[in-house]
Amino acid sequence: MKPVELFIRAHPEDVRSPPAARRKTLFQALFADMASSVMTLLIVAVVALSLPRIVQWAVINGVWTGDGAACRDAGGACWAFLRAKYRFILFGIYPPDQQWRPAFVIALVTGMTIWSMPRTHWTRATLLLWCATVVASLILMGGGILGLEPVPTGSWGGLPITLLLTILSLAVGFPLAVLLALGRRSRSPLTRALATGLIEIIRGLPLLSLLFIASVLLPIMLPDGVTIDNLFRALVALTLSAAAYLAEVVRGGLQSLPKGQGEAASALGLTRFQTLRVIVLPQAIRAVIPPLTNTAVVIVKNTSLVLVVGLFDLLSAGRASLADPDWPVPYAETYLMVALIYFAICFGISRYSLFLERHMVQGIRR
């Protein structure tokens, strides 16, 4: 047999730099082919037609100070309406001299949210601080103790209601969701059937129907004489809905965990509860943070539905403020303000989720 000839370089070759990527100019990107050119021209045409009118309505003819008559005369955007009504939209029919309390609640919740964002702050102390925040918010809004004037829940309204409903339904719904997810994967057929049935029924119904069912059924199903707060009924419906959707997400996370984790834990002698607490749940939840934050955004948006059961949240207060006969129904400005507040909250949550994803995946990727 002939010896195999090997080719071995005598001298190593220099590594060349990669070829420069051809950067497309803006013109090339906009008019690359026929479809792209048509799209560009169409968009330019639409913007050219509508932008001057929007600017004229919002800025040039916009009324920044004045009253309803000035708005009617000008025919432009009635920003003066927002300046006159912003306290009603933000706080509802809360007594005006006590409105520092809901404002403080909003500031408290915002501060706690910003505090909880860095991952180094994810400790048990922060959890306790959140519990204290919820209790403090309820006390501040309700009053009756610590020298605060009592305010019935029927008078609560605006942004604090939206924030409270979101936080409470998430806080109570998430542990419930973990229980439901574990129950759906349990070995005993009864627990599995119960959990599956509950999740599928709640997810199959529209939230509006759930709110309606809660507000009609709860008074009937409880003994005569026990009165249920309207806020509490809405909270039950929102919590159940949050729990069902979060349970599906957590179940996805539990399914993604390799079985070897649980087996290794039991080989080391950990009990089922310890395995869950230390090994399974942290990994499962970390794996599904993007869908969890998506569901959190949905839960924030769902709180706007409570206007059908008579609660005064941010949107309901905005809609009620339009009923003032002194002003020419500036619906666009009001709904724009309400939409901007919701957008700020929801967009913030989605951006935060992207930030988390980037930083958490780096730990897993090797």
């Binding site: 119904l205 309606f212 206007l307």
Partner: protein, 372 residues
Amino acid sequence: MRGHARRANLQSWLPQAVTLALLAMVVAWLVGNTISNLASRGITIGFDFLGRVARFPISESVVSYAPTDSFAWAFAVGLANTLFLSAIVIVASTLLGFFLGLARRSGNPMASGLATAYVDATRNTPLVVQLLFWYAAVSYGLPHSASALNPLPGVFLTDRGLYVPRPVFGGQGILFLCIAVVVLAAASIAFRRRMSRPVIVAASLGLLVLGWWLTGMQLSLDHPALGRFNFMGGMTLTPEFVAVVLGLTLYSTAFTAEIIRGGIDAVPSGQWEAARALALPEKDLMRRIVLPQALRIIIPPMASQYINIVKNSTLGLVVGFPELNFVTATTINQTGQAIEGIVVLMAMFLTLSIGTSLLLDRYNRRVALVER
């Protein structure tokens, strides 16, 4: 070994039995409370109220309804309204979402930037806010009947509604429908058998035209005309319906666009590269290589998005569109039969959503990639 197995059995059924007993106790307590509360209000439990006369008006419906019809028919009308609204929104949002998804993926920075801005803005605002905005725009922003907007010939837009010409069919309508069904069934069988497509299309069209002529069908348009106070004739779409369709379509389009974009992105890039290496034209690349594979990934989330559209249609209640939830609420208000009304409501929605989930399951199992 047998002793261990028996102990395992006891361990498994004892907690289950205890849970069942506790659950039964809680349910019995709730049911007892319900019965005593209803009895003290003089309300009997039973579904015979469905046969009684409804006596409340429904402002618009796809099928004809009068307050002298029964409660059961009122429920059917509510369901028909919900399904009609959902069908229109599903079709519109799928079509628009397809184009929006493509625009977002395109290399044109203006188109993709605008599409991204639209999707972000719509998905991060509650649907109720958007619906109330569109309802206010349709009610306050549109002119009165005297100075109606006329975007297309025969179409008028006022604050009292959208008026479009109504198609009036003359001739043997049922016979023509039977002929059309037969022709379409034959065409779909021929399609499956992979016969020549242009021949199938030409033959079906020819047969349909022949059937149209044979059954003596005529199509005329009943145009809306401005009467003294309002438009007469034609088809009226109320401001509530227009607002709900507009708001719900614009909201759902953002979600369907994301689903379609995700599906197209999930097709492996090797497919694109191979097609381009074979010099396949771009439009064939989309139509014959990418989209069929993307469809498998798109259909499950799209089906749940369709269920979401059906569930979101209940928000028509907020602007006054009489869908199923509204009819149930009015019925419960009038008769006090809360439990039965809620059972009917739950049954209808759960049938829709769980039925669609089961169908989707069967479809998924059929088209799932067979892996070893």
